[in-house]
Symmetry: C2
Subunit: 150 residues, 2 copies
């Protein structure tokens, strides 16, 4: 082995072990997370509590306002059954997405409208995603309303 080959191998090893350039990685991650957020929105607006719960990991924790935190698929689905009874539609807008490895965090805003499209409520959310089986699932989720509390 020549010195040139040895140096080449070291450079190759470093290149393989280093992450992708930040910009490329971030863009890809954001697209992946937005896709899951859109799936959440679709499930919510279809009134499908089971589909919503299936977007969360089995050990997920959901902290919704006005109720105690729901842990695990069954409790999360039950929480959404009650929540969906309100008959509102939800629109999510992704703000920031940051992440590394098997975790990603999204912050965003939501707007709830009535069946006839009138603004009912709005606020912010933060979601911690975990990579499972090659896809992203919601692992920790919290939202609140920015409207004055009655």
């Amino acid at each position: 082995m020549t010195r040139r080959t040895a140096v080449g191998l070291v450079v190759l090893a470093l290149t393989l072990a280093l992450p992708l350039p930040a910009a490329a990685q971030t863009g890809d991650l954001r697209a992946q997370i937005e896709k899951v957020a859109k799936a959440w929105e679709k499930a919510y607006n279809s009134g499908d509590a089971a589909a919503l719960a299936a977007l969360y990991t089995k050990d997920a924790l959901l902290m919704a306002p006005g109720v105690e935190a729901a842990s695990g698929t069954k409790a999360i689905q039950a929480l959404f059954v009650k929540d969906l009874a309100g008959g509102l539609k939800n629109t999510l807008t992704t703000g920031d997405v940051v992440g590394a490895g098997d975790h990603a965090v999204e912050t965003g805003t939501w707007v709830a409208t009535s069946a006839d499209g009138k603004h009912v409520d709005h606020g912010g959310y933060m979601t911690l995603y975990k990579k499972e089986g090659g896809g992203w699932k919601l692992y920790r989720d919290i939202w609140n309303s920015a409207m004055p509390q009655k």
Copy 2:
């Protein structure tokens, strides 16, 4: 350069580029984040809005319930001035801490008590921290109340 030296360099290069063992990194990170959470708690319970705001990055976003999101030091400090006017004390309990590189996420629970120690409110929070100048600062922060909304 011998073949042995070349292989050794490749192994060294890979070792340098790989992160610390997960367990060691997680334990250390959790202690660092809990320290900041305790500083938040201390500042809150001292009624010090400026000290609270100083724990956030200059471009931080705070999503507190019942008010529009506050962005930046000045708006965050103003939000805390109003919040602290309630005269409550706040106790935080860190749940999970996950992170990598320059970001970390904490989920936890909080309990608010009156000056005479009576339970007033409680709920959950999620905080995204960012490393700045070697220390952790709050970058995105949200909480809500788990108590039934009036």
